[in-house]
Amino acid sequence: MENTIEVKGMRKVFGQNAAIKHVSFNVKRGEIFGLLGPSGSGKTTTIKILTGELGQTTGDVKVLGIDSNRFGTADFKARIGILSDNSSLYERLTVYDNLKLFCRLYNAPLAHIDDMLREVNLEDERSKTVSKLSKGMKQRVLLAKALMHKPDLVFLDEPTSALDPGNAAQIHRGLQKLNEAGTTIFITTHNMEEATVLCDRVAFLHNGELQELDSPNVLRYKYSTHAFHVETFAGDKLVIENERGNADQIRDLIASGQVKTMHTDNPTLGQIFLKVTGKELV
């Protein structure tokens, strides 16, 4: 499959500090790729390099087949959408006027505004001044702004961090729909559930280095102990290793009707991150 993002030996140094240390990865076309890491791990720096807001110190970076020294071109900018901590809205203008500005800058049809407002569940707020919106509503307007021109590739930096679970779920459905239509999504998040639900592959970034990169299911299998966790009606909690010799014990427990719950060990992405890096993903 064709790569939408190609990063080889990317390094970014600020003064004496290396924020990104020789990072390499590819993002396939049509993929939802999650970059996970705690604050200060280099996620935002990575997004800034991939969107042309920062230049890498060394290494090769290609996005949508375009080399990083051409990220300033209108053609490149028209093909990407960005929602980052640098994204902002004009507070004195209405939601509609904010989106209209960006629709015209990206040469997108104005009809997209109402489509996007429906997607982010803000149809009733279209004439409201942005300063009167809640933080979560502003985040949804920013998301609409990032997606309105139907970009080939979207960068989302913590897209649902300010949203309640209901709105976050709606945004997830919208992103999945967008992805099904062919848009590649590059997302950074602290939310492990979000990463598990949305991402085809995730990468763990810690201290500017990639520690792991694979699909959430493969990672969960890789870091699973493969043991069975059994809870009996008597309240006993047993951990039975997934070995041929333990088959009789499991069969006996089931046959005697003692098993209340039984499941394999499936670590969450957060637990895997802790195991790999020794740091909590917060």
Binding site: E53, A74, N86, S88, Y90, E91, L93, L101, R104, N107
Partner: protein, 231 residues
Amino acid sequence: MNIQRISAIFEKDIKDFMKNMMLLTMPIIPVVLALIYDRMGDGEELPLMLIYLIVGVTFSAVTASCMMTMMAEENEKKTLRGLILSPASFFDIIIGKSLVTGLITMISLAVSLMIIGIEPFLNVQAIIGLILLFLFFLLLGIGIGLFSKSIAATSAYLMPVMFLFGFTPIIYSLGLNEGGMTIAIAETFPIMKAVEAHDNNSWSSIGIIALWVVGAALFMYICFKKTATDD
């Protein structure tokens, strides 16, 4: 350059401008000053220095000040980054943002000059001088707006701009030695060169104002490039 993008930024800015009380009151200052000077003149023609003081106040208090505030607000609220990351080019953004200020300046200057009498400005050098002065203050305003990072900080920069470049003709009323260094330096400033061009139909003075414009353009370009990326 893309006309649709320029007009989109212009349309956004005009809506934003109409809701910004601080910016809305700025164009009134030169008009009030023109009314006061006109009453003081007792029907007599005002000295050229006083007329250019009103021009200086218009360009510093309206052009430079509005531009500074608008750019600093875009910078402070991070909305400028949204424009920079969009397909709009450097020229689309700068021209789109300058159009509102240009329009307001034109209205404010035209009303002020009509109050004190527009006839003295009906010659080529005076008109070219006014256009170059407008560009100088506009580019200086954009540069300082980008440089100052917050609206609050612009007020600290606005005062020196107003007194140095806008109110330069006042220097003659300070009782300084006519042949002294201060007056000699002040006479190289854009407003003074515009007065000279107007008075003597001098093209060399127009050339010196053009150099000030080039300097302001360079300053603005450097500030824009620094703002465009996080490097």
